[in-house]
């Protein structure tokens, strides 16, 4: 989007803001901080002042736009239909162009552009992570040994273990269905979190797909979906990554695309169309967008629920923002969980309220994001369940961190993992009878 288009978009959206303040009751950052500066209406007001030349896009304005989780709650709650997400993105991009972004982010996003280098760095990171992080005895992850504020690492923060053998290096590009009569081929877009931190989720997705008779293709050329870059206002990097992914996907043959990361899914499905607005790859990206399904959508539409076996766990579910509001997926995971035999499902209060992770938000505003997370943990604890299930690895990481800090016995699992457990149990039951 060029400057002129961005200005038009901002103008057209903020004129709709009636300053009614409805967004005060929903914005998690406002609810935590109780300061008008953090409400969506204040963001609209600030941009109005910028357009009227009352103030420039100062670092102060930029910082106010940074204090947003991008949870999209205001978007669905705003009576006047202000497209706050687009406004915030446009403003972040404009501010980044004027003032730049933090050196740490800049370095990280530049690294992201070079897929092989990025991969090498993270794999090296996995080998050397013990230098910076100490492993926790309970196996939940690692805590930093030293303060790394620039990297958004607070000494309290628990990170997941980085894997020494990332998912995509371990798995072949093509994995055939476990059944003889294959139903077709699914392209699995893994994303970074699954690849480097939670490969077990990736394994679960592959299990689910192959057990239901689908071949899986995992393009080796895929890279980060770009969400961290473009939501921080680095549109250029976002674009490079989007193009690389669209090309990587386009070079494969597949019937559906499956994601198990809400941000990747929403990026492929929604955001690329904006980022690639005037790119020759726009048509290809729209083709991609039309095929994307979250793993839970895919399971409901294309897998056999009657083969789910017993999983005797008591669970609750947390809606990742980019899944419930980004991809409109919220009924699907619940429906699947409730059809797993032996599984007891308890809905938590405000299940769709943001957990406070918000990508780099939790790095920059760690204490604030912990504070927002506390509400989530309380609501989860009140269900009296042993597991919190969620469909996003960032949420998982943040909630796990919070649980560990609290010494809570509750554990977090990705939805795909519990579904995979159920299919495995179903398979075994089948064998015995």
């Amino acid at each position: 989007m060029n400057k002129q288009e961005r200005r038009q978009l901002i103008e057209q959206e903020i004129v709709k803001c009636s300053r009614c303040g409805n967004c005060r009751s929903i914005c998690p950052v406002f609810l935590a901080e109780n300061n008008e500066n953090t409400t969506p209406r204040s963001k609209a007001r600030l941009l109005e002042a910028v357009l009227e030349n009352d103030i420039e896009l100062t670092a102060g304005v930029q910082q106010r736009f940074e204090k947003c989780l991008f949870c999209k709650a205001c978007l669905t709650h705003c009576g006047s239909g202000v497209a706050t997400d687009k406004v915030i993105l446009a403003a972040r991009t404009a501010a980044a162009e004027r003032n730049g972004i933090s050196p740490m982010k800049k370095l990280a996003f530049t690294g992201l552009r070079y897929r092989k280098l990025f991969d090498l760095c993270l794999r090296a990171g996995a080998l050397f992570q013990h230098v910076i992080f100490k492993k926790l005895p309970d196996g939940r992850g690692r805590a930093p040994r030293i303060l790394l504020p620039g990297a958004g690492l607070n000494q309290r923060r628990i990170m997941p273990d980085m894997t020494v053998s990332p998912l995509r290096t371990r798995l072949p590009e093509f994995i055939p269905a476990k059944k003889a009569d294959s139903q077709g081929t699914v392209l699995f877009f893994t994303g970074c979190m699954l690849n480097y931190f939670y490969p077990q989720t990736g394994d679960a997705v592959v299990n689910i797909l192959t057990a239901n008779g689908w071949n899986v293709v995992i393009p080796a050329e895929q890279c980060c979906c770009g969400t961290p870059a473009f939501t921080s206002g680095d549109e250029a990097t976002g674009r490079v990554l989007a193009e690389q992914n669209v090309q990587a996907i386009g070079s494969k043959k597949y019937d559906h695309i499956v994601t198990a990361c809400a941000s990747c899914g929403a990026a492929l499905k929604e955001e690329y169309a904006h980022i690639l607005g005037d790119s020759p790859l726009l048509a290809a990206s729209q083709n991609v967008a039309g095929k994307v399904l979250d793993i839970t959508q895919f399971v409901l539409q294309h897998c056999d629920l009657t083969k789910l076996g017993k999983v005797p766990l008591k669970v609750t579910y947390h809606d990742p923002c980019h899944l419930v509001r980004g991809m409109q997926v919220s009924a699907e995971p619940r429906q699947i969980l409730q059809s797993i035999p032996g599984l007891e499902y308890v809905e938590m209060k405000d299940a769709s309220r943001c957990c406070g992770a918000g990508g780099s938000f939790s790095a920059v505003y760690y204490e604030l994001s912990r504070h927002i997370n506390d509400k989530k943990l309380d609501n989860a604890a009140n269900t009296g369940t042993d597991y919190c299930i969620t469909g996003c690895s960032s949420c998982r990481m943040h909630i796990t961190d919070g649980l560990t800090q609290r010494h809570s016995p509750m554990k977090v699992l990705h939805t795909a993992e519990i579904i995979s457990m159920a299919y495995e149990a179903g398979g075994k039951e089948g064998e015995t009878c």
Binding site: R19, C20, N34
Partner: protein, 464 residues
């Protein structure tokens, strides 16, 4: 800008992070839910009564204006610091201090969100009836200062009917207690009532004692559909004349119905000229009886259909239509003047017709709807502020709505307050003598004139 000396003293009172003074903060705190705007010189967020008193004392010493602010959902410009100075944000005083089940009383700090009190009272088996549509955001301090109303006003009354007493900080920093937790308190003039609806011009409210009522046993929700809006309006006066007092009587015109339907798609009658959303509550036998009688009256007055919700879900669907009017405005135009014209209930049909003709005369869309049961209508004029010519027509239509309301013996504000938005018409409502007394009372209570200057009786623009 306030002098650094003053800022430092303020910081010493409330703590560094609770004095905001960056240029960006001043923009963010320059508005409420109106289109108007003026920047403060600092925002101060006290945590308790003593901090409030200390801040006001400082302001008095340096002659700095103080404008109170709750959630800033005000629709009359009440929180806009017309003369700069301090915006005093009271949302950190957000404790429900007491819910007394036996005496049916709640004591709250002003920053408590209205909905939080309604929930807490409900958990104790009690009802706090004032339910402004902004209740999930608005604060009780703001409600009392504006004397807010809501859909339940027909039966239960508005905020003023529930305020028993309060604690407030006067403009010199001294503290006053008014009223009493006893219902029958009648020691002298009602100071509590003087501060209720004073819109932050007389004192800073720091604690409020509110009356609660028992939760009604049952309620019934229904919707009556009319070909002609006038017939819906007539139903309101006939119902009230018949001696039935519903909890709610909400009117929606065709524009509201069509816009809500576009937004919600729940199968509303888009061909209807108007509809009424009616709720009756109480004990089972009277509720059944009243619902039956109301639906008869609706039919007599020309309703083509009366639908009584059979399940809580159906009732919720009907309510959703009413609550979604605000979101639905956006279907028509991006900006609006949400008005608050209130007339005696018997004149609702006349007001409705007049508003229809104002809409034609100025060629601007007007949503003709509101809490018809207590005569409190919300004609909402739609425009795009980027279109100057259209905005001018909208402003003329707004003028005429005010004038027509006063001509019908009504009032400028059923609930949104006067602030600066409606101050130009205040003298026309009170009369010259009433206006003079209004000024004198304010001067007696706030001799320094630092509390919310430029509002109500101290508006400095042209008067009608």
């Amino acid at each position: 800008m306030l002098k650094p000396e003053v800022l430092n003293k303020l910081r010493a009172v409330v703590g560094n992070s609770h004095v905001l003074s960056e240029p960006e903060d001043m923009i963010v705190y320059s508005n409420d839910a109106t289109i108007l705007s003026a920047k403060p010189e600092a925002v101060v967020q006290p945590a308790n009564r003593d901090e409030v008193a200390a801040v006001v004392k400082l302001a008095a010493r340096y002659n700095i204006p103080v404008t109170c602010r709750g959630a800033a959902t005000c629709l009359s410009g009440g929180t806009i610091p017309l003369k700069g100075g301090i915006v005093l944000e009271l949302t950190r005083l957000n404790q429900i201090l007491k819910i007394d089940k036996v005496n049916k009383i709640a004591v709250v700090q002003p920053g408590v969100i209205t909905f939080d009190l309604i929930t807490a009272a409900g958990n104790a088996g009690l009802l706090y009836p004032p339910d402004p549509s902004s209740m999930k955001e608005s604060t009780l301090g703001g409600n009392v200062a504006e004397c807010a109303g809501g859909p339940k006003g027909v039966k239960y009354g508005i905020t003023r009917d529930f305020v028993l007493g309060m604690e407030a900080v006067l403009s010199d920093g001294s503290i006053i207690q008014t009223g009493n937790a006893v219902d029958g308190d009648m020691c002298g003039p009602d100071w509590t009532m003087l501060l209720t609806g004073s819109e932050g011009t007389m004192a800073v409210i720091t604690s409020i004692t509110l009356r609660l009522v028992p939760l009604p046993a049952v309620k019934k929700t229904m919707m009556a559909v009319y070909d002609r809006l006038e017939d819906a309006a007539k139903t309101v006066s006939v119902t009230m004349a018949a001696g039935i007092i519903p909890t709610t009587l909400e009117l929606m015109d065709n524009l509201s119905i069509v816009s809500v339907e576009k937004y919600l798609k729940i199968g509303l009658p888009v061909k209807a000229g108007g509809l009424l959303l009616i709720e009756v509550d109480g004990v089972l036998s009277t509720v059944e009886e009243n619902a039956r009688r109301v639906s008869e009256i609706c039919k007599q007055c020309g309703a083509t259909e009366v639908k009584i919700a059979q399940t809580p879900q159906e009732a919720e669907d009907l309510w959703r239509a009413r609550r979604s009017i605000n979101p639905a405005f956006g279907q028509v135009a991006p900006c609006k003047f949400a008005e608050d014209a209130t007339v005696p209930r018997s004149l609702v049909p006349v007001l409705v017709e007049k508003i229809m003709s104002i809409q034609e005369k100025y060629d601007v869309p007007i949503f003709n709807m509101g809490h018809a049961g207590d005569g409190n209508m919300h004609p909402t004029i739609m425009f795009d502020k980027r279109n100057k010519e259209q905005m001018a027509r909208a402003e003329q239509a707004l003028d005429e709505v005010h004038i027509v309301t006063l001509e019908l013996g009504g009032t400028l504000s059923g609930e949104h307050g006067i602030g600066c938005a409606k101050a130009p018409y205040l003298r026309a409502e009170t009369g010259a003598t009433g206006y003079k007394i209004g000024r004198e009372i304010k001067q007696a209570v706030d001799p320094l004139g630092i509390l919310n200057p430029g509002k109500m009786f101290f508006y400095e623009g042209k008067l009608h």
